[in-house]
Symmetry: none
């Protein structure tokens, strides 16, 4: 079954994309998901909300590819014109579907909201197309065939697109192309290592034409190493090799953010946690709270921006603040210990730093962050220099860095 992958194209629709106001992130997500079922994206086309352009894009793609996945332009407003473009490509008109309208009415009713007349548009589909259900929004998708290609049209809203791709498109494609080489993707996730450093450690595995294909993408200090092959055992073996070479920077073998791995670790150890944050302003607690079921271990969070709050809530001593300042290793330690004690938790976290753009000094420049982790036996602290990062990227990275330190402290790894 290691045959050539089925050729596919992706079509993204929206003036906001061609004019550059938004970056299209749907297409790369779709490409990755298609590859996993043996469908290889060979071209991505992005056109604006122009009926003739959309129709032409469908027609051209259908002559080159066997599978087309399109997103965008299914909303209720005037400029959402993908239905019309698809109908033109089919040489057909549009048809009202009463059951679609009922669903839309139901959705509005459930939220106690009036239905704008314009939503009626979303109950129409091109003649010859059949609907793809949308559990997360009013815009149904649809599927049709053109020049022998099967075409799926999904909304551009990522959460809607993602669910419809997983629940409808991928199962249909698996059924339609049962012999397609299924690509198996293994993932190794790392926090805090550079792409170059990772690349150097696994350069031989990343050679061009190698099977499995090994690739790195880095986003906000989290690296995702993908190991893809039609040979499931080979993908798993090489993923194991990658993880072994990279060592303690690896926080998960699943495609999940670090907060999920850390929450699972806390849940598995039945270790409760309390987080005291200054510059991150609640983000570390919010990352943890993103994980379902975390309430069993997340006891409390303290957003203590002011010295008063650090003193009142965490018992940081005014003398410590006067002598070392709020941005200091001593303060991070006192915050972590104070949070642990006040909340009666097993693990305490303290984060303090200067997120900028203002507030820096020569001794304590913007980007300086201290993170402390308090356990029963010891409190560990580390100093970071995130100079040059934009305020909110810095805050995000600092919050996740703290979670990585929680992981390292619990597992007994070096800070």
């Amino acid at each position: 079954v290691n045959q050539a992958p089925i050729p596919a194209e992706i079509l993204a629709i929206g003036d906001e994309l061609t004019q550059g106001w938004n970056t299209d992130t749907n297409s790369s997500e779709i490409a990755r998901e298609l590859l996993a079922v043996g469908i290889a994206g060979s071209r991505i086309t992005i056109v604006g909300d122009e009926r003739a352009q959309i129709a032409a894009a469908f027609t051209e793609a259908s002559r080159r590819a066997q599978v087309i996945v399109a997103t965008g332009g299914l909303g209720p407003t005037e400029d959402d014109i993908t239905r019309e473009g698809a109908a033109d490509a089919l040489g057909a008109g549009q048809q009202f579907h009463a059951e679609l309208w009922d669903r839309i009415v139901e959705r509005f009713r459930a939220r106690g909201r009036a239905i704008p007349e314009s939503n009626k548009k979303q109950a129409f589909l091109p003649v010859g197309a059949s609907r793809i259900p949308n559990a997360n929004g009013t815009a149904p998708g649809f599927t049709f065939e053109l020049n022998g290609a099967v075409i799926f049209v999904l909304p551009g809203v990522p959460v809607e697109m993602r669910a419809m791709l997983a629940n409808f498109v991928l199962p249909q494609l698996r059924e339609r192309f049962p012999g397609a080489a299924r690509y198996h993707r293994n993932v190794v996730k790392c926090f805090g290592s550079s792409e170059a450093a990772i690349g150097e450690a696994i350069a031989d595995l990343m050679a061009r034409g190698a099977d499995p294909i090994v690739g790195i993408t880095v986003s906000r200090v989290t690296s995702t190493i993908s190991i893809v092959s039609a040979n499931e055992a080979a993908a798993a073996r090489v993923a194991g090799e990658v993880a072994a070479r990279l060592g303690p920077v690896v926080y998960s073998r699943r495609d999940e953010p670090i907060e999920q791995a850390v929450a699972q670790l806390l849940l598995s150890k039945n270790a409760t946690i309390a987080v005291a944050e200054s510059c991150t302003g609640g983000l570390a607690a919010a990352f943890l709270a993103s994980v379902p079921g975390v309430s069993a271990v997340l006891k409390e969070g303290f957003v203590t921006y002011s010295n008063d709050a650090k003193i009142a809530r965490l018992g940081v001593s005014p003398e410590l603040l006067a002598s070392h300042g709020a941005v200091s290793e001593e303060c991070a330690r006192a915050m972590a210990e104070g949070a642990r004690e006040a909340a009666g938790a097993d693990v305490g976290v303290g984060i303090t730093g200067i997120a900028g753009p203002g507030g820096g000094t020569r001794e304590k420049p913007v980007g300086l962050v201290f993170i402390a982790i308090a356990l029963a036996a010891e409190t560990r602290a580390a100093r970071y220099n995130f100079a040059g990062l934009e305020r909110n990227l810095l805050r995000e990275i600092a919050a996740r860095q703290a979670l990585d330190q929680v992981r390292r402290a619990i597992l007994g790894l070096p800070a």
Copy 2:
């Protein structure tokens, strides 16, 4: 000068893009820069590192557009094949440029590095193309004409692409199309209104072919209405009309998230705030903390997941929790008032709800959220039904909804 914009296309090249390992961010950046000089991107095409595909993409685009900007595939390795594709589109061969080679040699020498033989490739350009200097890397770009279109080919590395676009491509385009209409963009931002409702209110302004062009994009309950025109006064006038029609759902006339508008409002009124969060887990505080300078008004955040923390930190009474439960309007009010009092702030916020996926009951289903805002004079509360939203989308929307309620409370608008 109010002529139609010059049609342009963007071409991004790389297997890592078509296979989805990387998201193409160059194209949207190029599109925005082009629009500012009156060149409107109408299509973005992404193809892999396949010589024939690249040649075809150049040829097709040159038949539709007057300007083409391409990025990617100019590196020294085997798979970088954009030069060959461009030469094929021109029906030409490649030519060695001694002065390019000298520059590459010089660049390596300056860093004390040996020159890999493979870099010689970068000293070749298609016959008929002229070079675009690259101050930040070894890969020169090049420009040529095809079917009457002017084509610029730049490297895919963002920092190299960006500099060459600014220093070479945009000046050339300004010179070549001196009469091109420069576009001005105004923005109206709304929170909590559906795309359909907004579309209905401004349908006449969104009519196709209208000047200014009015378009809506919605992301996570925040709507962005873009009003774009070569006529600066017209864009501003229509933006004012849009804002007037939409009324209190408009939180800003700048392209900023609601937390920024609310932080500015608090700073302008010198009103301090404290936030008590259950289901949002620190996210509302973190959103506020994303705004530089907010420390002057953000006194404190309380992430009170447990009943114990609600009682200890916010003074919520055990009786209230026993009779109404933690997810109740009463509890949200007590949290808002408790946060305001404990922190000594002017505004207190209380958020409590069921984010799911577990924890729902028949009376209190997943998606039920109560938000209260405590001011000196009164405490306001509202109930929301966010059923059907994924846990973290729900948390994000609930946190921003609370900030919108802060805005409304301070401005005396209805909840």
